[in-house]
Symmetry: C2
């Protein structure tokens, strides 16, 4: 994990320190594993820096609970107890977002996705977090539920110093264009190809 | 994160449960970001399952300390204090492995890498961990310091139920062939291309 040297120094009037500390918009896309896992790994690092972490999972089922949620929420409580690291919030679309009065109705995913994005916009405007993970957020964009140009404009104008990581397959080219860091996870080989189902600890 | 269905059910005489619970050899390779981050994310999940986690970092400098190490070691102490999760060991080649009497000499990386692999072989034989992360372990193989066939044979014969994740660029085709799960992280875009250096919390 060597620290690479920049290929070119841009003529943007910023010092190296200013440039280094610019907030990052990262996108993890592709059909392979590790998109979300790597994003939650970044949340882990951020927690260690004392950052305020906000995770927003655009998943359908609220029953789906992954190990990372348990551990990151545990780290959030550790922050409250001892002051170590930073605070952690974990929100899932599932059967309605935690802040929503419609919680419990697992009906209209489109409405829930739109509502999630509206709330994220408010929190971006308020600079509520230092790192936001928008997990599987490419899908509502792909399905046309959330407008890609609105996402790109909103993120481009976000105030303060907020890092954002977006995960999911099929990231829109406009999002890729707007991002600072884009990684494509490609499946080379997966045990499901050999008839093996997902297993605890590896898949969730 | 839906649970996919297997494409084919193999004729290997195993029940679905047996097949599901087979230990996994995973490889994260490619030139993109997220190889190690996703591996440490798996360690996070494994900790949450109560697994014994062993991380072996084949990095040159022991000074290099990433946020994941701090947090996973903290989680290991939490396990000792409260019984939550599992125990965590984190070993770095750096200036000599922690178990080595040669610690402190940052001289011969080849000898250190070979010694690391020999110790990992002993621990695999003893089934010391439930999940081993061999971080940046492709490099000693690429450089001919550690024999790929030895690695493949040793991992193929590992006893018990030990998951192994190997990270690093340029994974040898024999390792890819032997692995159950291979993901290639491909760089689409990186801030260093635009003259931005790595930054705290994002890169380490």
């Amino acid at each position: 994990m060597p620290q690479g040297q920049p290929i070119a120094v841009p003529d943007d009037g910023l010092t190296t320190r200013q440039r280094r500390n610019r907030p990052v918009l990262a996108v993890h896309t592709g059909d392979g594993k590790g998109k979300s896992t790597a994003a939650f790994g970044l949340a882990l690092r951020g927690w260690n820096q004392g950052w305020r972490i906000g995770v927003f999972q655009f998943v359908k089922s609220a029953k789906w609970r992954i190990g990372e949620q348990t551990v990151l929420e545990r780290l959030g409580r550790l922050h409250e107890e001892t002051g170590e690291g930073g605070p952690v919030e974990w929100h899932k679309m599932g059967s309605g977002w935690s802040w929503s009065r419609k919680q419990g109705e697992e009906g209209d995913h489109q409405t829930a996705a739109v509502e999630g994005w509206q709330e994220i916009k408010r929190r971006l405007a308020a600079a509520t977090y230092d790192l936001l993970v928008l997990d599987e957020f490419t899908y509502p964009m792909t399905w046309g539920w959330v407008d890609v140009d609105d996402v790109v404009t909103t993120l481009g104008n976000r105030p303060g110093h907020q890092h954002v990581v977006i995960t999911g397959r099929g990231a829109d080219p406009r999002l890729v264009e707007a991002a600072d860091l884009v990684t494509e996870m490609t499946k080379v080989k997966h045990p499901m190809d050999a008839g093996q189902k997902g297993q605890r600890g590896i898949e969730w």
